[in-house]
Symmetry: C2
Amino acid sequence: MRRIKVLIVDDHAIVRDGVSTLLSLAGDIEVIGEAANGKEGLEKVGKLLPDVVLMDIAMPIMGGLEAIRRIRKAFSGVKILALTQYDDKEHVFPAIQSGANGFVSKTSASSELTAGIRAVFTGESYLSPSIAKLFVEDYRQVSLAGGKSDPYEELTDREREILKLVVEGYKTRQIAEILSVTPKTVEAHKTSLMKKLGIHSNLELVKYALRRGIISM
Amino acid sequence: MRRIKVLIVDDHAIVRDGVSTLLSLAGDIEVIGEAANGKEGLEKVGKLLPDVVLMDIAMPIMGGLEAIRRIRKAFSGVKILALTQYDDKEHVFPAIQSGANGFVSKTSASSELTAGIRAVFTGESYLSPSIAKLFVEDYRQVSLAGGKSDPYEELTDREREILKLVVEGYKTRQIAEILSVTPKTVEAHKTSLMKKLGIHSNLELVKYALRRGIISM
DNA sequence: CCATATCTAAGGGGAAGTCCCTATTCACAT
DNA sequence: ATGTGAATAGGGACTTCCCCTTAGATATGG
């Protein structure tokens, strides 16, 4: 089996050398190049055509996020594993949104690095545990974290039906047509369900629905 | 160091035995009990007080999701690692929403099972690669998948500022006060930014903002 | 049979949003 | 200097949203 070709992009030479040595110990991985910033990384992707790019986020000249976006655009087949010091939402989510296939924290064990490289190489993703936690928590209802029971259970079937249509973007009049009732009836149900959920605007309703998984982005 | 106490909940005896044997091979994990369905699992959690519950999702009597919710409610300190056959959104997201700390596919290597147990035990999360992929893809902009460029870049600074405030729930009048301009000006910017984004309602705006990571749930 | 809950519907009203316009000021680039 | 884009502001018309009250029909359970 061909070895996985990896390009390391990080502004610290020490990190590049360390990671490179580390990865060489894994039989199925081959470090084919290194770059010290996003700009250089982007160029080397074109020249060396790696399978996986190991990309540090915080870098001068061209930041990791910008580099990820450009690599995604120019070489859509290349997998990108982001590497970062910071395990918080503000750093991780933008990285994923810019097109990274996986995310590994620098505090992770070295085994996670190889696991991550193998995972993204095969088209899967990898999130190291501290980062997986961010995703998982973001998907959980806040209400569960708060401990109080969810008033969603109090809704009647009709109310759930209307909630769904509302957050999908249908206007009151359209919903009325779909359900073959008058707009006034739709409003009545909507008022009722909003009262039950303690929500006072369409906007909060959308956020609630996304949190509950009633609709997805 | 004390070993991690694990309770296995799965309706297939074969799976329970196999997993139990597998976990026993790891020195730091101790299987302290087994249950064949959610109801039995819930009872045993109370009796045995495990550190981690390994919970199958598809079960008769009491499904895994319901069991997870109840364990979360009654024993908030217990970590739950969900185990499933199916690696799709429809199965995974509801499980996370019901309170699981991590998610491992049955198709995963056994090393992932132990990695997952250790991660959730220490308060982190674990998502096996095929499942991490679902999360990652859900967080990426649809526009990247579609390939078309994002009109967000076209927005002026003022428009971005107002977009943020709008989706955070501020009314036009409040935004006007915050920025020390008239409501009419805020409306003008809003109209302009909505036109650029091709959006025609507050509701879509919120969805867009969530997708873009401008706000979080 | 009665109480309760749900679904239906309507009237009225205030607040907010949406969609037309026009217009001034300022900065920046051609 | 002239144009372009951005930020500012307003008028007017129309729609939608949110809240309040009331009330008949139907079903469910005690």
